[in-house]
């Protein structure tokens, strides 16, 4: 179903590549100031039900293309995707006509236990099978292609049968979904699991990439060594900008988003980060190869 969805004209597609994550703290500022960002992304779970959040989203949607970035489908669980959760996501997709819908290559539910985090999966044939089954169900119910994001992880599996970049390509090819490449997550992973982040990005098939994420991370020290934690609480780091530039040269003009989820700054700070992303995209289009331009 991937090729069908991609060739269909999508209402509300952004004219400018770089967008920002819309958070409750910025609802009013975004609608009043209308910053020149290309599009907005929200976590749909915050708009399940009704009331003020949904009203704010309607107001923002009048001015910007929208992407729904889910965190609760738990696509990598061995159980099927929760029907009620999926039903609520479908309601939002129908109401807000987003140009992108996404979730993660991770799991957050096991039996009755639910974890508000993106837990890591082993990259095996069995995991691939589970993800594909869940993605089929989601894409059938939503009647559209979705994107899946590579996670930040703090453990890796000795039982992996392939590297993550290869796994991402496999998931996308087999299910018809696209890839949401989070370059901050690639960098965090490369530090935590000692691999070359540029090599990872180079392995991702350009035609599968539908969106790029950028965010800040934090270093956390332990007795023995340090880990990078995907905290979304600060500016995008210089190494991540470098990786983003490399990704833009490779993937062309892909919708790119700056996420900031805690210690949220003034809207202007977030918009400046998004402007920086836009400059990099434009520079790469002038000087580089736009191999992955979707349209």
């Amino acid at each position: 179903m991937g090729s069908d969805s991609r060739s269909r004209p999508i209402a509300g597609r952004p004219l400018r590549s770089a967008g920002i994550g819309l958070r409750a703290a910025h609802y009013e500022d975004v609608v009043e100031q209308r910053p020149g960002v290309g599009w907005l992304e929200v976590h749909p779970e915050n708009y399940f039900g009704g009331g003020l959040p949904r009203r704010h989203l309607h107001q923002a949607r009048e001015h910007y293309p929208l992407s729904l970035h889910a965190v609760g489908l738990s696509l990598g669980s061995t159980e099927a995707v929760d029907a009620a959760h999926l039903g609520q996501l479908k309601e939002l997709v129908d109401l807000f006509d987003p140009f992108l819908v996404s979730d993660h290559v991770s799991w957050s539910a096991s039996g009755n236990a639910h974890f508000p985090d993106l837990l890591p999966l082993p990259y095996t044939g069995e995991t691939l099978e589970r993800l594909i089954a869940n993605l089929d169900r989601v894409q059938n119910v939503l009647q559209r292609q979705i994107l899946v994001e590579n996670p930040s992880t703090y453990v890796s599996y000795a039982i992996d049968e392939m590297v993550e970049s290869e796994f991402m390509n496999e998931v996308a090819c087999a299910s018809g979904c696209g890839i949401l490449l989070d370059v901050n997550n690639v960098f965090v992973q490369s530090y935590n699991h000692s691999f070359d982040p540029f090599e990872y990005v180079a392995r991702i098939r350009p035609d599968l990439v539908g969106e790029i994420h950028l965010a800040g991370h934090t270093e956390r020290s332990f007795d023995d060594a340090t880990l990078l934690i995907d905290t979304h609480n600060r500016h995008v780091g210089p190494e991540v900008w470098a990786l983003y530039e490399f990704a833009c040269e490779r993937f062309g003009e892909v919708p790119s988003l700056v996420e900031w989820d805690s210690d949220i700054p003034d809207l202007g700070v977030l918009v400046a980060e998004s402007d920086k992303a836009q400059e990099i995209v434009e520079r790469s289009l002038v000087g580089g190869v736009s191999a992955g331009a979707a349209d």
């Binding site: 009331g51 003020l52 799991w107 639910h114 974890f115 508000p116």
Partner: protein
């Protein structure tokens, strides 16, 4: 082969869950994951502890955010300790974190360190109703003109369906005074609270949540409608409590409390609506 592998991912997720769901990382479960997970650099237990901490902090943040008045009554530090206990004892069973915390009022009501603050559980109930009301689905409100055309004889058989943001809390404590104190940042210990209870209504009107203290007949009427009773079934009690049906209905229609109605069939005393 496939069956064997499938069991393995399920088992892995179960073990992972058990390793990270406590107040501290579960060493036995970590040991069971050795060999499945790669080791090197930062120790495996520390790596898994990042997840345990993320989950705990995420859950705690959701609960603290839903109960600001309880927090202001007990203080930040006390609240943090109570919520940390709650999160470990009652981890989320829902995927939507905005609806996590429904059992916190019951928990705080039986949390031994909070035993002397006897109104805390009721304040928590009020705040949970507020939280649910905030996220309740949008509904079209029933206008009083829509029942004005009904045959007057049929009105006795009428049962009004309340909106999904509506909640009633009957407390033995003066919740309205406690709420006022919290909202004005007053020290509750220095206030002489009235020796009475309070019946509170929470509802959302025009996207804004409201809280009203109800009279006994008002509470009786609305509680009756919420359980699907007909007007006839609650009429006598309202009159006994000194209430008048007309003004009651005007008030609640004015607040936009109703979203539909049903006419009860047969004996209106029998609450046979489903």
């Amino acid at each position: 082969m496939v069956g064997y592998l499938r069991v393995r991912l399920t088992e892995l997720q179960t073990r992972f869950s058990q390793a990270i769901r406590g107040a501290e990382i579960a060493e036995a479960e970590v040991d069971a994951l050795r060999g499945v997970m790669a080791e090197g650099g930062v120790a495996l237990e520390n790596r898994l502890d990042v997840y345990r901490n993320n989950v705990l902090v995420g859950c705690a943040k959701a609960v603290v955010g839903a109960f600001p008045m309880v927090e202001s009554l007990v203080g930040e530090e006390f609240m943090r300790a109570a919520v940390d206990h709650y999160v470990v004892e009652h981890p989320p069973t829902e995927l939507n974190l905005n609806l996590y915390g429904s059992s916190f009022p019951e928990f705080i009501g039986s949390y031994p360190p909070a035993a002397e603050v006897d109104y805390l559980a009721d304040v928590a109930c009020l705040e949970w109703a507020w939280q649910e009301g905030f996220y309740a689905p949008d509904e079209a409100v029933l206008d009083i003109s829509e029942i004005a055309t009904l045959d007057p004889d049929a009105l006795a058989n009428l049962s009004l369906r309340t909106g999904s943001s509506i909640a009633l809390i009957r407390s033995a404590h003066p919740l309205d005074e406690i709420v006022d104190a919290c909202r004005s940042d007053q020290d509750i210990g220095e206030l002489a609270l009235s020796q009475r209870g309070a019946d509170m209504l929470i509802l959302r009107q025009d996207y804004r949540l409201q809280m009203h203290r109800l009279t006994a007949p008002e509470y009786t009427f609305l509680a009756g409608m919420m359980r699907g009773a007909s007007i006839a079934a609650v009429f006598d009690e309202i009159v006994d409590l000194g209430g008048e049906l007309g003004p009651l209905m005007q008030k609640f229609f004015g607040l936009g409390c109703f979203v539909g109605y049903a006419l009860m069939v047969g004996n209106p005393q029998q609450e046979d609506i489903s």
